[in-house]
């Protein structure tokens, strides 16, 4: 069975790596998705346990990702990073 990982979808490298590092510090596998539109390709064989969506992603991209997550498994939690969560 393929591994479940937490996705960090964020095109800002430094912010994404900081969050990914914290998630991994909590013993949870995490993958950074640098091209939001292609998150499924970048995920590869792994399965999403949860998806963190960075603040500032374009609304249409967020909509697309949420719809695609719903098609795969509507139970996958989606964490919306808001305001100064990256500071």
């Amino acid at each position: 069975m393929s591994e479940r990982v937490i996705l960090v979808i964020d095109d800002e490298l430094e912010r994404a790596e900081a969050l990914k590092g914290m998630i991994e510090f909590m013993d949870s596998p995490a993958v950074r998705i640098s091209v939001p539109d292609e998150w499924q390709n970048q995920l590869g064989e792994a399965r999403a346990a949860a998806v963190f969506l960075a603040n500032g992603l374009q609304a249409d991209i967020v909509d697309k990702i949420v719809r695609e997550i719903g098609d795969i498994d509507p139970n996958i939690p989606i964490v919306l990073m808001e305001d100064n969560a990256d500071e």
Binding site: L19, S28, A49, P77, I78, V79, M81, A85
Partner: protein
């Protein structure tokens, strides 16, 4: 993003606000994994095709017992009539057990006696004439997982003693091999036979019976839980809608007839019936008249059921009744039109014309 929850009410959104803090992030991470654990357990008990779907006390009790026995290592003996869903229960136990290995199902009634040992234990190259290479047996393939021995009552006596040894010592030996291979197995067995009676008759080993019968689970036949027929039907129809894009529904009278039927083939027979009906009438309302005679009986009320339906014209109602009667006659006559015409007491030419007009296949 504040409108997202309204746009996608099904989605499980969390919000992480303000500066990123380890506490708030940790809380969300914990919730995520707890939710996954819950979903996995829920899904494992929501097994496929109408199998553990049901509202009867018997099915609720079964679900409850599965939840209790699944995480243990106990050997389970599943008893139930043919088509009642014994393999489904076994799969549910495996999925809820947390065991990471494979679920391997073996139908003991389908393996010739001469191949049984090789099938179950595997063989080394050259063990016998046709053994051109090493082959792993089903027990070894299930190592780390679950082996499901269906129709265990059909297992030959010579194999019963070998299986007993596996259960006692947790090792196997391939045919033609000398190595003792330790295995970590969960054993589930099923039967539609009375193993106790077989034990008394000397056709099933007493010691094996007690080894297997650690935790017996009984699946009630469908005829004893008619309240499950509507929910099973609903679930089966839903699956067909997804898989085959059909949209059948059943009239109240049709459902009443189905609930009154004794279902000798149990859930499997119900699933087959619904699949067949959805082929012949993929987007309509199934009236009692559309059901096989064995289910709806021959009473005229059932044949008149279609009159209760919808707002279509008398002509349409009559046509539906006629189509149902023709289909039943064709069913009973194995598709031989002349015989169906005799049953319907009409001329063959008339029937052929009606079949053509109604496009009955």
């Amino acid at each position: 993003m504040s409108d997202l929850q309204a746009t996608y009410p099904w989605a499980k959104f969390y919000r992480l606000q303000g500066p990123l803090k380890i506490d708030s992030l940790g809380q969300i991470i914990d919730e995520i994994w707890a939710q996954h654990s819950h979903n996995r357990r829920q899904r494992s008990l929501e097994t496929p095709v109408g199998r553990l779907v049901g509202i009867s006390p018997g099915i609720e009790e079964l679900r409850n017992l599965i939840g209790k026995v699944a995480p243990s290592q106990a050997t389970v003996l599943i008893r139930g009539e043919s088509g009642s869903g014994k393999e489904v229960v076994a799969r549910a136990i495996h999925e809820a057990s947390g065991r990471t290995g494979e679920f391997i199902a073996v139908n003991c009634g389908a393996i010739p006696d001469t191949l049984f040992e090789s099938e179950l234990f595997g063989h080394e190259r050259g063990a016998f004439t046709d053994a051109v290479s090493r082959k792993l047996g089903q027990l070894e393939l299930a190592n780390g997982g679950t082996i499901f021995l269906d129709e265990i009552g059909d297992m030959p006596a010579s194999m019963q003693v070998k299986l007993l040894r596996v259960l006692q010592e947790r090792v196997i030996e391939r045919v033609g091999g000398a190595e003792q291979i330790p295995i970590d197995l969960r054993v589930l067995a099923a039967t539609h036979q009375d193993l106790g009676e077989m034990m008394n008759a000397g056709t099933f080993r007493e010691d094996l019976f007690y080894r297997l019968n650690v935790f017996p689970l009984d699946i009630a036949p469908l005829r004893d839980r008619p309240e499950d027929v509507p929910v099973l039907t609903q679930e089966l129809v839903r699956r067909l809608r997804v898989d085959q894009r059909t949209s059948v529904e059943f009239s109240d009278r049709a459902m009443a007839a189905m609930q009154a039927y004794n279902w000798p083939g149990n859930v499997r027979e119900l699933a087959n019936l619904i699949e067949r009906l959805s082929v012949v009438k993929p987007h309509g309302r199934i009236a009692a008249a559309d059901l096989p005679v064995a289910i709806r009986g021959r009473d005229i009320e059932a044949a008149n059921d279609a009159v209760d339906l919808g707002s279509s014209s008398l002509k349409q109602h009559l046509a539906e009744i006629e189509i149902g009667l023709i289909r039943n006659a064709l069913d009973q006559s194995d598709g031989v039109v002349s015989r169906a015409a005799e049953l319907l007491k009409v001329g063959r030419t008339t029937l052929v014309e009606k079949i053509r007009r109604y496009q009955i296949h």
